[in-house]
């Protein structure tokens, strides 16, 4: 690990106070290098979503330390003032459902974020087209989300997550609604994108089909993570 990617040390999250307090995360330690795709698996209620929300700067962890690249972003408190900007510039999201904006066509769904941050529309669309070409959906750039298949929608969502070239992507069960062929295709894309853009990708999943594809897996149980070496099965 060269200091890039994301490192989480002793992260915890407690809901409530006193007798009613619940420790959703007790001791989370993770490290994901740039270009690496790791799995985060665990039973329902184990704290996966809470961890994802903490990593995504959506909720406040109770303690621990998070380092993104060379920057400590959390150390028993946020070290970044503007969490929204942190999410926008440093973290990409891919969801179980694509959640594309229904009134924007494919290219503008992907180009939206840079457009909203002031990049000229043409330049943002050019960047989006480059990503969509890499994801092999460049032929659907003018289509509306409702006109796309599930796999195409997910690829567009991945492109949206990558548009700002974030160092980390958090993927929340990205293959859940897909059949095994499409699920493997999405995993292939994520691995390719991770390598191409030097992005650290954390995939939260229950999907038995894709678990063997990870080289490293973090199990989370009762709010504690355990690292395990995965099968790293070929995606080709």
């Amino acid at each position: 690990m060269n200091g890039k990617g994301i490192r989480i040390e002793g992260l915890s999250k407690r809901y409530g106070k006193g007798d009613t307090a619940v420790d959703a995360l007790k001791q989370v330690d993770m490290q994901v290098a740039p270009g690496e795709v790791v799995g985060l698996i665990g039973p329902s209620g184990s704290g996966k979503s809470t961890l994802l929300k903490c990593l995504g700067a959506v909720i406040d962890p109770s303690g621990g330390r998070m380092t993104l690249g060379d920057q400590v972003i959390f150390d028993d408190g946020w070290k970044v003032r503007n969490l929204r900007a942190l999410r926008r510039d440093k973290i990409g999201f891919v969801f179980q459902a694509p959640y594309l904006i229904p009134f924007l066509d494919v290219i503008d769904n992907v180009a939206l974020l840079p457009m909203l941050t002031g990049m000229p529309n043409d330049q943002a669309r050019a960047q989006a087209l480059e990503l969509l070409t890499a994801l092999d959906v460049q032929h659907r750039i003018s289509a509306m989300p409702s006109q796309l298949s599930g796999g195409e929608q997910q690829r567009v969502a991945i492109a949206r997550g990558l548009i700002n070239r974030p160092p980390v992507i958090l993927a929340d069960e990205p293959t859940a609604p897909l059949d095994s062929t499409r699920a493997m295709a999405v995993m292939r894309i994520l691995n390719n994108m991770a390598r191409k853009f030097e992005t650290a990708i954390i995939v939260v999943t229950h999907d038995e089909k894709i678990i063997p594809t990870f080289k490293r897996i973090y199990h989370i149980r009762d709010g504690v993570t355990h690292e395990q070496v995965g099968e790293g099965r070929s995606l080709e």
Binding site: K53, R84, I101, F103, D108, L113, L116, R160, D172
Partner: protein, 400 residues
């Protein structure tokens, strides 16, 4: 920068257009209501303009002749002509009544005009067909809105009048069309008693020995004749010589003739401030209610549209979209809805106005005020939806 509101509207244009049309009809009604008020004010001003008077001389202590009844002797105008600065003075009577015609009747204001020629105060200042009244009796000039045509006959009390001229936009402050007839006929129509009352009065006079004196032949007949004719008019319309100050002349009439006199601004204040004040308040209440209903509708629609996009808003917030971008999207949609509504409303009001029985005056000033009021209402109405959108937790996009 991309316009999220614009793209959403284009995507769901049917919803926006139909909602805008519904809102537009409401805004159209609001504009027409404002137009009705403006029409009433304009009717009042037209009434004053068309009378051709600079001063209105009426019974002392009254707000006549339009807002209250007023009765003064028909020879008082002679004395007024002797006051410096007065160019013309003419008697006039006003009586609002149902006028009979062949196919029913029509509500109109009957104006009794003094003998003279076109230009005499009280006379219709212009005609669109026919001629002015030239005979002393049984001729009439009618406003075209009354429905009479040249050569038609109309019935006022017991007499029949032939329409010899038509005029336009001669209305009372209530918007009733005017019918001009000779003063003597109007006085008779206004003060004429029925036959039983005439007979009863004659009998009582005859029974009074002071009036029925054998040694004074003709006394009884003279007294009866005086009781059966009217020497009263409602007002004297005065036109001043050029350059004469109206207040000065009015003060002279008040002082020397002991009559109440109103200048043009005073008469306008009576018409607008007193005669149509209740109607104006009524319309004002309607305007407030319509504004509240419009605001409620816009708020509900924008709230519903925003509720439909909760997940997308959560995603936008999660990926780092600024609050002001989301707020602007909702606000712009609300304003766009208002804009569509206003355009539809303005078109509706413009085309519907001529079909209203009373004069509806749509003035650009009201449209401009209405436009900004609609935008303000829509802006305020969107605040609830914006508040809700800003409270959306970006974590909702992640689930769990």
């Amino acid at each position: 920068m991309i316009s999220l509101a614009g793209r959403d509207i284009l995507h769901a244009w049917g919803k926006f257009v139909f909602t805008g049309i519904g809102l537009g009809l409401l805004i159209g009604v609001t504009l027409v209501m404002a137009g009705v008020y403006r029409g009433m004010v304009d009717d009042g001003k037209v009434l004053l303009d068309n009378s051709g008077a600079d001063l209105w001389v009426v019974q002392k202590g009254t707000l006549g002749p339009y807002a209250e009844s007023s009765s003064i002797n028909d020879d008082r105008y002679r004395g007024l002509l002797g006051i410096p600065g007065i160019a013309q003075a003419a008697n006039v009577t006003y009586l609002t009544m149902q006028i009979g015609r062949s196919d029913g009747d029509v509500r109109a204001m009957v104006v009794g005009i003094a003998p003279g020629a076109a230009g005499t105060p009280g006379w219709p200042p212009y005609l669109i067909a026919g001629r002015q009244i030239t005979r002393s009796h049984y001729e009439a000039v009618a406003d075209i809105a009354s429905g009479f045509q040249l050569g038609d006959y109309l019935n006022i009390r017991r007499n029949q009048y032939r329409v010899v001229g038509l005029t336009r936009r001669m209305v009372s402050s209530s918007g009733d069309p005017m019918v001009f007839i000779p003063l003597k006929d109007a006085q008779q129509a206004q003060f004429l008693k029925d036959n039983d009352t005439l007979w009863q009065n004659r009998r009582r006079t005859e029974a009074n020995p002071a009036f029925n004196r054998a040694e004074v032949p003709g006394l009884l007949a003279a007294i009866n004749a005086s009781q059966e004719t009217s020497q009263s008019v409602n007002a004297v319309l005065v036109r001043l010589q050029p350059g004469q100050a109206a207040d000065q002349a009015a003060e002279a009439i008040r002082r020397w003739k002991r009559l109440t006199t109103y200048t043009r601004p005073q008469m306008e204040a009576i018409l607008i401030g007193k005669l149509i004040a209740t109607s104006a308040r009524q319309i004002g209440m309607f305007l407030i209610i319509l504004a509240l209903v419009s605001a409620a509708i816009v708020a509900f629609i924008i709230y519903s549209l925003t509720m439909d996009k909760i997940r997308e808003i959560a995603v936008l917030k999660l990926i780092g979209t600024k609050n002001r971008t989301i707020a602007a999207m909702i606000m712009q949609q609300s304003l766009a809805l208002g804009l569509i509504g206003f355009v539809v409303g303005k078109i509706t009001a413009t085309f519907a106005a001529p079909f209203f029985p009373k004069y509806v005056l749509l003035i650009p000033q009201d449209s401009v005020v209405g436009f900004f009021a609609v935008l303000a209402i829509c802006g305020l109405a969107s605040l609830i939806a914006i508040r809700m959108a800003l409270k959306v937790d970006p974590a909702e996009a992640i689930g769990g």
